[in-house]
Every structure is written in structure tokens, then in C-alpha cells.
Symmetry: D2
């Protein structure tokens, strides 16, 4: 079995290799694809992977290339984990919107819009190459904003595309640990915009979870506790994805983002750049044959586990329940059938079936999800067709963009900052 | 035929009388109901109406009472145009949210939330009395927020309730005048949150309208022109209800509202109080037998025309196309069947049928309307059941309320300001 | 002895009468002067005063008039306590600047600027009438901004003018009560912008006072305690006038002022209007022969005591130490000799001598006082000469006005709100 | 004659060498002192200087060292142009205050406070070494904030210290060019906080200059023209130092600073870092024997001219009129004799005498200058004695710091950012 990784020089890649080497998957070849500027990093990663394989006593080969077609050809799985423009552009995604009093946020926020506009056309190329050169292969997309990229790929007919995220897995593990027994999650919404419900041994324990003080703190993070309405989680009635805090506490999040951008340490992108420099220094250690612990700081916990589980399930005879970003197909009554949603699905070699959500989305989530899906469709349309009108409408539809005049200024500014990366808008 | 007007001391009432007296409707009795504090105003209005009837040579009787049951009993039409707490409370609706950096706006904004919380339980009483004492009567609701009140009444089964608004009629007239020919509007959305499409002689002229410079100015009103993106209306692609400017230009609207509230002239409620004092002085002129021209300043143009047209249509054998607030019944694919929408409907004595909207709502409107409908349902639930949780969720779901901490503070403040008017929340 | 009170319909006036009736001053006639609109209030006040005199067994006469010249003629003391434009204009002083993000504050703030511009030309007329019709009389000015009005009057040569304020007396009494012994204050600065030092039985107790937790709370009032730096008073090293909080906590004060203006209760002027309505209802009680306790709510504690003490001292053979607003005459090294300052002075029938301040003003006060004095001079110049340039410079020099563009907009707005009250600017 | 330059690796240094080599000063040795991290840069600069000397046919020697004592010993002039902590710390000076809504501004703003706290103790060491090792030498200080550093050095008795700035010279040249004749400036105030008056051929041309449209634009720079009150310069009546725009247009300057800090290009320090990288690349060109034109971008026009003129004047028999930062000595009536002011002075080998300013400072400048001088004294006190209380009072006294709570937070933040650079505060 051959696997190709687009964005193979990613700092996350060693984690993936670890998962593959520990799994029962019979992976013969791993191809790491990167652009010319990323080649040195990809080589570093491949060398580490080879040492890891030796340690694991496996004969998997690791090949680095800039030739995406060669890598994709004949793959069973193609993994997207590239980042167009690298951390430098992510820094601008996070910084530029702040000038207009809008949080950047590189996944669900306007920063994610800028990033999607850079990414979608590359993702389309990848999808077309997969379609042409690797029949029957699955395209697993980790590249952020993962839900929006997957939405765009399905809009152009790339049906064998799945979007993946590690947050449902992290949440499940955290709750299991706290409960002392295995907890299962029912997840529904859009990527980074989901509600979840927990059950243990067949009993719904959601209300217990929501009433636990740690749950609120886990959600609100660095938001001053005095700002959080008493019993907030119980009041909304579901376990919210941590990224929902950008929508439920926008003022606090914006203030924090501005303070961070103006602090000596800079934005998250600035910090990640320093973390990555340290990581690659470790990757280069010649006697190192496993990923360093510091990789956890980078924020990709369980990422390889999710990836390996999905690949295994897609090869297995009996269905496994996994949370994926795939077309709704009736599972969530509040969204259209073709809308890509994040939802539990039954996955096997015979295909994928979303699990229907009983009832409707909870009210404070429903309208929000509907509005953000509208934004996603418009963004995909803008990126695929280069439509300035769709781009403007996308920002106007985004719940975190306060109106048309800001949308317009933001579009102008982001376009200028992304010159050479975005499609020409007309 | 007997008509009863709940809130008969309203400054708008003489306009209604004018419409009735000019129409072919055979109205024998008009009953003006008001609360004790409004009685003097209602008497003033009734006296003017009697002089108007004399001038018109009609024998309609005008009766003033505080006994709502007596007035409603046997009515063919009951008109809601009452305002719980009067302009003083409207002033607080507009002012209090500004403390939290949120526009009040007494219809679509959080001010409308506070007002709906005061109004819905009175409206429910009225609806129950109509059901009990005036079988077969129609309840025509003008009381704002008209769409939300109508939504609440349908949620408790008051099926013969219609919500009315003069804005579609005003828009139609303005466009007809500009075009020099009769223009017809297709209207879809929620009250004060609609998109419209215009046709003249069977041809769609929407794009022409949107490209006319006056159209943009009419929409943006006092918003500084430099803030409006070029070709804004053409970019969104439909004729927006003027109240959508609160959602498309929230920063500008907030700034204006704060400036107004801090200006010598005060909020709109403060101004209206002065306008009404002048109006009633005129109503009291003993030789006056028609409404003064200044009534236009009050903002109720075409109000009586709409009321009379609806009543006439409900008595007529063949259907008339009118814009109403009624249950969707499949007309707009993006909303549930039971949701009250503002939409064209065919109205006759045989009933009311919404006209299906071809296609979907335009993208920047769709998600917004879905989210506001969620807010409306939650508000109705809070007002009907006294649920503090629903009230909090309603504000959290409102697109103009920036998040949970503001929602919470706003709820506390509005509750304090509305003591004695709101249902007890628990 | 004849005393005339300009602004005799002031709600404070009964307090003054109480002081006069209790004192040993041989006051035969009290003349209450007011404008036509204030006449009814002045009559109410005079009637109450007559009942008070009867109770006190004194034969003082109380005369109400609109004829200022008749009242002033032959007076020994003329007291200014008028308010040009009444509370309605004070409301605008407090409200209009908020539109530009500037606190109004009707004494030391830009609201006081607007008020001074209305007041100074009336005060000049009074001073000229005193000079002409009541030779040797003293003009005691309580009208706010008291320091600035006194500055202006000295700039036009009205040498026998004193500015009075009750805050030093209030502070002295509060500290004496807390210390359980008589405390004496050394006060230095400008009206409402003073530092004080306390001594008891000849020992300086300032540092003890500053370290007492109540002292900080007394100063910071409604400012959230978390915002006050630890040991704030000890850090600045003197007992600050409460109005200095507008300069030391401008952000907090502005926020509170905006919140108040947008609250149901409105600005301080709105509240005072309600308090005064209640007060005058009490004044009108026919069996009332003393001021009601509620007068304390109005904020004029010790006002009459200060007035009576000053008058008594000016008639006494040996000098009394009193805090006055008078020309510096070398007492404070950081200000010019002719600058009107608030400072202890030795007062007797032989004249007034300011007590030299040992050393210099404390650093955080010195530069502030120098800048505000500059603002005062410019304001007086603008009011006396109608100079638009001086008016603009005054606002630009004011520490609470953030720069030239705000100063300009503020000037335009205040000028519009004060039409008919300000001198024509050119 | 020996000259030593403290901070010899400064990018400005080649400009100084150019001036020295072109002048008639008989400079035999130039010593460039820098810290270990700056040594490479200093070597680069020295090499360029040697090529420049060769080209000029002069035999001046250029020595690089980290041994400040050796360099200073026997110098006739010691020039301060060091920057403690380099551009990295300047970046924090500019960035950190923005978090609290305060402009950083590395000279007159709170950024300058942070910088002075780093600099003063090094400057004191230099002054003590000059006193000990180079009797009769003059210490010329260019290090910013130049006025405040000079103030501090005079406070510890370093009498032969002069503060220098190129802005008066730049202004004089700009006006001369515009007028087509030589213009002379009378300058009064504090460094970067001066007013100027211009004369040509003995005639005062200030009003003509102020009415010229270019003058306003030159002052207001990037401030939107709509924000500048009409005839602003004529209204204030003197030629303002460009840095006064931070005080006259604080809102606009803050907005611009925040936008810059959040822009892709970053703060001025970020930009200067890129400019300097380019400059040193040019300095390293082996055939280069003069400073590159790009040095002008760095902002040091006329810097060497001012330095050379001052040195020449201090050696000349007859007095030259130059603008210096030196003790007031009665020249400006509004400041104390010992206060360091920026003012014209007559300079010769017999000493320095400030030229008395006729009259007083203009009103909008006077109070501002007095308040800033208070801030300077407090800052010097804090830096020299490590007093936390003086540091807090300094920030509280600064006109751009809005009050005590901000002052406190700012102090905490700046102290954290300057760990290892500031004296320990107690």
C-alpha cells in the first residue's frame, strides 16, 4: 500500500509516521511531497521517519519529492496537510483583520477565509490528480479550514474526499479520562462549530458533563471567568466545540487577540514559528528515532490516530463509528443534503453512511451553523470562480464580520496581503 | 360590521378611520379600547373620528372603552395597535442596550426583544378573547415587533392572526412613482428582514432598480456614503428592507444611535413623544374633521390603506395578492412550514395561501433570516413560558448581540428596566 | 446690613437663610433676585425664609425681585448663586461632550467650559453693578465653575470678589470626625483641583490619613476598586480634592458618565431636576419653618456655614484662617501672582492675605494645575472677548480634551447647544 | 584632537565621519565604542570611515573598542549615540503601550519613558567617566529621549553636557528653501516639544509661514486632513515641533500606531531594522568610500552638521547662535532655572548663554511643557534612584497616559518587558 502526504515537510508528519508504523496497515511506501522551499524540511522529516522505521523493524520506504503527480500515482490514500504560504501567511491571516476590529482566527474566522482562498485552488489540483492518477484512492484532508476545504472539493465533485479533525477525538478522550469509563460522542454541526452529546455505557451523561465546573473552564479557556454567565454550558445545553468560543465570546476573544498581537510574543503564528524551529532542531538529532515530546505543544494530539483509524476503517469489512466531515445526506435536518457537515458516520470498505441526528440542532447552534454554511458556500464559490462578489458576500455573511463596510475594507486588505496567492478576483 | 381597535388611543388611529370611511366596507361600529391612562387620548381620537364621519356623511359609531371583552365581542376584525408601557418604555428599549455597546432598535433589535417580552402576554389575552367572544373574526396585528408577535400567536394556535406592515406598500409606491408605471413586489423573509424583487408589466426590473443611485441612498439613509461599498445593492442582488441596514451596517447604526441618545434631541422615542404631543393638540382642535398632515412625520404612511385592503380581501370572493406575516406553509424553502414569514399571499374569503418563492433566499439573507427566526422562536418561548434560559438563548442567538457575556448583562438590565411589565422569569 | 442673593430661587437658598438666622450677623434685609422664569421659585423660597425667621424670632425682611440693581444697591454682601440656563442647560453640558468621548463634568470638565461661557458675561454685569451701586461690598461667588468665574472677574478688575466652595470644609469635618479631634487643612491648587495636608494639634497627620483605607474609598467613589493602584493616595502623597478623580481616573469616569446618561435615570442634571421638584414641594408646605433634610441630597452641605463664616470674618477685627479662591499673591510658587488660586487665607476687616505654601506643589499636581490655569485664562478671555480662537485654544489646553480635532468638534457642538446663551464668537 | 563615539556601531556614524572629514576641525583620532554584540557593526562602520578618510586625503585614525574608558580618556568631545537594548527593545517601547490604548512613541511618549529608564544609568556611567578621564571635555548627547537624558545628567551635576537634536536645523533649512532666503528660528520649549518663530532678514515671518498650506501639511503628516481644524497653525500661533502632533492629535496618532503595529510591515522599529540591514550591506561594499544615499531614509538628516557646528562653536572665539538642550537659566520665564530646555544659545569657547525668550510661551504650549517637564524630572528621579513611586508618578504626570489605572498597568508591563535593562525598582 502506498500513501502520499501533500505537505510532507509539515512538523506534524513524524506523528503520522509513528501511527502508521504502530498500526497493522501494510504500508510499503510513504511519499512526502512538498514545494521547493519546503524540501529541506521534508528531507529532515523523512530521515527521522527512516530511523523510526528501523527502530520499529519495518521496511516502509520514505521518499521525498516535489513532483506531486509521481507521488499521488497509485496511492491508496492521499493526505492533505499542506499550508499555502506557510506560517508567514498565517501570521497575516491572524493580524490583518485586527486592524478592522475583527478577530483573525485562522480556521473559523476571517483569517480562515483568507487561508481558504489560498488553499482551495491547490486542493482542487490535488483532487483532480487523485482522480486521474490514483483511482479508488481516498483523499483525507487535514488542511485547515478543513470543513470548508472539504465543502469546496465536494462542490466540484471530488466525492471520495473526507475532512478530518482531531478535536472530537480529544474531547472523547478527555471526557473518558474524567469519567473513568469509555465515553462516546455524538457530534453534529460544521468543523470547529459542533455540538456534542456524551454517553457512557449506553446512558446519556451530557447534562452531568455540562454541570461539571471543569467543563466550563475547558471551554472558556483564557476568557475572564467573571464574563462567563453562571452555568453557561447548562444554559446552552450541549458540549460546545472549543472554537465556538469565538462566536459566544467574540469581544473577549478579540481583546485577547489584539493583546497577543501587540505583546512581545506576537500572534499564535509567531509562537508556532519558534516552536517549529525548536522541533526541527530536534528532528535533526542523528540518534533520534521517535518524535520529541515537544510535538504535543504544537497542538496535533491524536492527529495520527485519527488518520490511521480512518484508513483502517475504510479497508475493514464491518462498520466503525467515526466523526468525519462529509456530505450531510439527511443526517442533520437543519442543513441541505449536499452540505458537508461534521458528524458521526459508519465507515467500512463498503462505504460511508452518516448517522442521523435525532431531532434538530439546539437553537443557539442551528441558526449559527446555517449562517456559517452559507459563508462557506460563498467562500468556495469565490475561490473556485474568482468572483469578487461572492468573496464580498462571504465576508458579509460571516457572523464575526460586523457589516458591509468592514467586509469591504477587509476584502481589500486581505487581497493586498495575499497577492500572488489568491485567484484573481473579477 | 363591528371593528375593535386594541390601543385605540394610538396617534395612528385617525388614519385608520380615514381609510375605513373612504372604503366600501360597511363598518357600523368602531370600538376603541385602551388602558385607563390612555383613555383621555382615546376619547380625543374618537371625537375626531366622529367629526370625520360627519364630514364623510357616514353613520359609523365610535365607542371608547377600557373593557376589552365588550369591545371584542362580536367583532369581525380586531386590530392590535397597542404599545405596552407606551413611549416611555420604548425609550428604555432604545436606550438601555446602548450601555452595552448594542443598538436598541425597537423592532428587529434587542429593544424589540424587550418590547416583545412585554407585549406577547397581552397579545395572548387578546387572541384568547377573540377566540372566545368573536368567532370567525380575524386578528390583524400591527403591534411591533409585528412578525415576532404573530409568530408567538401562531405558536399558541391563534390561527386567524395576520401580521401587517406598511413597508412593502411604501416600497411598492416609491418604485411605482419612480418607474412611472405600476410596480409589483415579490417579498420574502421575516418582518423588517425581507428581500424584494420588483416587476413592471410582467418584466423583472430588480437589477435596474438596484443600479439606480437613489435606491442605495434610500436604503442607507444617514449612513455616511463613504462607508457604503460601491454598488452595494447590486452586490447583494435584491431590494433590501430598510431595517436590514441594522444588520448590514451595524457599526454605523450603533454610532448614530449613541450620538442621538446623547444629543439634545434624545432618542427616537423622545422625538416621537414631542411629535405626538403636537399631534394630539391638533386632534383636539374642535373644527378639525380630518387627520393633520403632520401625521406623516409619525411614520405610518399607508398604514390604513394596508388595513382596509386586507379586510376587504378577506371578505372578497376572488383572491388578492397582498404581503402578509403568516405561516410559511412551504413558500420559502429555507424556513420551516410553521414559521411565520413575511411573504406575498393570495387572500380571499375562502382563505389565505402563501405564494411559493421560486428558488432559495439569496445567500446573505438566508442564514441571517434563519438565525433571526431562531431568535424569534426563543423569544416567544421566553415570553409565553417565563423561561429565563430561553430569554438568555434568544439574546445569544440574536445577530446584533455580540456574545454571551453581553447577552447576560443585557438580560439583567432589561429585566430591571421592565419590572412590572415582563413575565416573571424562572 | 443688607444682603442680596443673585439666583435667589436656588434650592440652596433656604440653607443660607438658616445660617444667617443662626449667626450673630445683624442682617436686616435679604433680597432674592431671579430672572422672570425663576420668580415663582424665589417666592416659594422667600415664604419659607419668612416662616424660618418667625420661628427664630428675628425680624429680617426677605424681598423678591427681578430688578438686580435695586437689590444690589446698598448691599454689604452680594452672593452669586445663579445658574444661567438652569438645569436644562446643565444637562446639555453633561451630555453633549459624551458624543465625542469626553466627559462633560459641569465644573472642571468641558461642561464647565460651556457653563463658564454662559455665566461670565452675567457675572461681569453683576460685578459692575456692585462696583457702581454698592461701594465697599464684597462679591461672594458660589456659581460654578467657581474658580474660573472668580478668575474672570479678577481679570476685569473686580478686586473685591471671592470664590467659595464647600469641599474644603466638608473634608475638614470628615477628617475631624474620623480623628476624634479638630483637624486643620492646608489647601493649595485651583478650585476642585486642590491638594490638602492635614494637621491635628499642631502635628502633620497627612500620611496617616492617606494610609487609612477609607480615605482611598472616599476619593475613588464609584470607580471599581480593582482599577485603583494599591496605596494610590500614599503614592501621590497628598489628600486630593474629589474632583481630581476626573483627571486621575478619566477612563473610569467617562465610562460611568456614559452609562449614566444612557441609563433610565439619566445624567446628574436629570436626577437633580427630580430632587429639586421634591424639594420645592416640601418648601411649599405651609407649616414648614425649616429646610427639609432632603436638602442634603442636593449636595450643598456646609454651604451656608462657609458663607456666614466668610462674611463674619470680613467684619471681624482679628484674622481668621479660611480657604478662599483669590489671587495667588505669591502663596503658591508654581503659579503667577495674579492667578486666582484656592488657598488658605487670613481674613479680617483689614483685608485678606494668602498663606504662603511651604515648598512647591507635589509633582503630579503641579503640571496639571499649571495646565488647567492656562485653560481657565483662555476660557475667561474667550467669554469676555468673544474670541473663537481663545475658545478653541481653551479646549485644546484642557487635559481632558484629547486633542485638536475633538476640541474643534466639541466647540461646534457646544456653540450650537448654547445658542442665545454664549457671546457671539468671532 | 580626539573624539569618542559611544554607540559607534550606529548606522548614523558614517554621516558623522563625513561631517568631520569635511570640516576644519583637526580631528586626529576617532574612537568607536560599542558593546560586544555591536562590535561587528562598529568594525564595518570603521572600515567604511577609513575608506572615506582616504578619499578625503585625511589621516584621521579610526579605532574600534569595547573598552569605553580607553576611548574616553583624553577626548575633547564624547558623543552619545548608543541605544540600550537596540532596535529590539525599541520595538517593545513602541508596541507594549498600545495594549493599554496608549501610543508608545519612543521619544516623547511612554515608549520614551521605558527607553529613558534603560538609558539613564548608562549615560550616568559615561558622564562619570568623562568627568574622571577627559577633563574639560564636552559630552554631546544625541541618544533619545535627548532632552530627558540631558535633564538627568544635569540633575547629577554633569554640567558640561549638551543635548542635541536635528529637528530645528531641518525646520530652518526647509523654511529657508521655501522662502528663497535664509530663515532664522527662535526655538523654545523642551526637546521635541518646542514652538518656533521664524525671521528672515530681520523681519518676523512666522504668521506668513503659518498661513502657508504646506506648513499645516508638514506638521500633520499622515493625519487625515478632514480631522485638522481649519487654519490650525494660525489658531495656535507658532510653528510647532512635528512631535507635538502626538499631543495635539493623540487619537489619530494612536489609531495610526495600532494600525501600523498590526500591519504586515509592523512598527517603525520593525521597519528600521529592515532599513539598517540594507544600510550595513551597503557599508560592507569594499569599493564604497562615502555613505549611501539610503541613509536619508533612516531619518538623521543634518545630524552630523549639527554635531560639527557645535564642536566648532565650542572652540571658536566669537559666539554662534545654536539651538541646544541646556539648563534654562532664566531664558524661558515659565520654567525653572535648572530645567533643561531646548532653546537658542550663544556658544563660544568662553561658554554657553541661553538667549532670553521675549514674553511667555504661547498658552497651548506653556501648560503642556510644564507638565512634561514634571514628567521628565520624575522619570530621571526614578531612573537614578530606582524609585517605583517616582516611576508611577512619572507615568501619571504624562499627558498621553490616561490616568492612574493605565499608568499602573503600563508600569507593570514595561517593567516586565525591560527585565535586565531597568534599574531594580523599590
Amino acid at each position: 500500500m502506498k500513501i502520499s502526504v501533500i505537505g510532507g515537510g509539515s512538523s506534524y508528519a513524524p506523528e503520522l509516521a509513528k501511527g502508521l508504523l504502530q498500526s497493522r496497515l501494510d504500508v510499503r511506501e510513504v511519499w512526502l511531497v512538498d514545494v521547493a522551499e519546503g524540501l529541506d524540511r521534508a528531507q529532515t522529516v523523512a530521515a527521522l521517519m527512516r530511523r523510526m522505521a528501523t527502530r520499529a523493524g519495518r521496511s516502509t520506504s520514505f521518499t521525498v519529492t516535489t513532483d506531486r503527480e509521481r507521488a499521488i500515482a497509485g496511492s491508496s490514500f492521499v493526505l492533505n496537510q499542506f499550508r499555502v504560504g506557510g506560517l508567514r501567511m498565517r501570521g497575516l491571516d491572524e493580524r490583518v483583520p485586527l486592524r478592522h476590529g475583527v478577530v483573525g482566527q485562522e480556521t473559523t474566522g476571517p483569517g480562515g477565509f483568507a487561508s481558504a482562498m489560498r488553499t482551495i485552488r491547490v486542493a482542487r489540483e490535488v483532487a483532480e490528480q487523485v482522480d486521474r492518477l490514483a483511482q479508488g484512492a481516498w483523499l483525507l484532508n487535514f488542511t485547515n479550514p478543513a470543513g470548508l476545504i472539504t465543502q469546496a472539493l465536494h462542490m466540484i465533485g471530488a466525492e471520495r474526499t473526507l475532512g478530518l479533525c482531531n478535536i472530537p477525538r480529544i474531547t472523547e478522550r478527555r471526557l473518558s479520562q474524567a469519567a473513568g469509563t469509555e465515553v462516546e460522542l455524538s457530534v453534529a454541526g460544521l468543523n470547529h462549530l459542533t455540538g456534542s452529546w456524551a454517553s457512557a455505557n449506553g446512558t446519556d451523561i451530557t447534562q452531568t458533563v455540562l454541570r461539571h465546573p471543569d467543563a466550563t473552564r475547558a471551554f472558556t479557556g483564557e476568557i475572564p471567568y467573571a464574563e462567563v454567565p453562571e452555568g453557561f454550558l447548562a444554559q446552552i445545553g450541549f458540549i460546545p466545540n472549543p472554537y465556538l468560543s469565538y462566536f459566544f465570546f467574540p469581544g473577549e476573544r478579540l481583546r485577547t487577540a489584539v493583546e497577543q498581537a501587540l505583546s512581545p510574543e506576537g500572534t499564535r503564528a509567531d509562537r508556532v514559528q519558534r516552536i517549529e524551529a525548536d522541533l526541527f532542531a530536534k528532528y535533526r538529532e542523528e540518534d533520534r528515532d521517535e518524535p520529541p515530546e515537544e510535538l504535543l505543544l504544537r497542538g496535533g494530539a491524536f492527529y495520527s490516530e485519527v488518520a490511521v483509524d480512518v484508513m483502517a476503517a475504510l479497508l475493514a469489512p464491518s462498520p466503525v463509528n467515526l466523526v468525519l466531515n462529509i456530505p450531510n445526506a439527511g443526517a442533520i435536518a437543519d442543513l441541505d443534503d449536499g452540505d458537508v457537515v461534521e458528524r458521526n458516520a459508519l465507515v467500512s470498505r463498503d462505504g460511508i453512511r452518516t448517522v442521523p441526528l435525532p431531532g434538530r440542532l439546539p437553537p443557539v447552534l442551528r441558526g449559527l451553523v446555517q449562517r456559517v454554511k452559507e459563508y462557506e458556500r460563498l467562500t468556495a464559490e469565490a475561490a473556485l470562480g474568482g468572483s469578487r462578489r461572492a468573496a464580498f458576500q462571504a465576508l458579509l455573511a460571516h457572523p464575526l464580520v460586523p457589516g458591509a463596510s468592514v467586509a469591504q475594507k477587509l476584502l481589500v486588505d486581505l487581497e493586498a496581503a495575499n497577492q500572488g496567492y489568491w485567484p484573481e478576483l473579477h
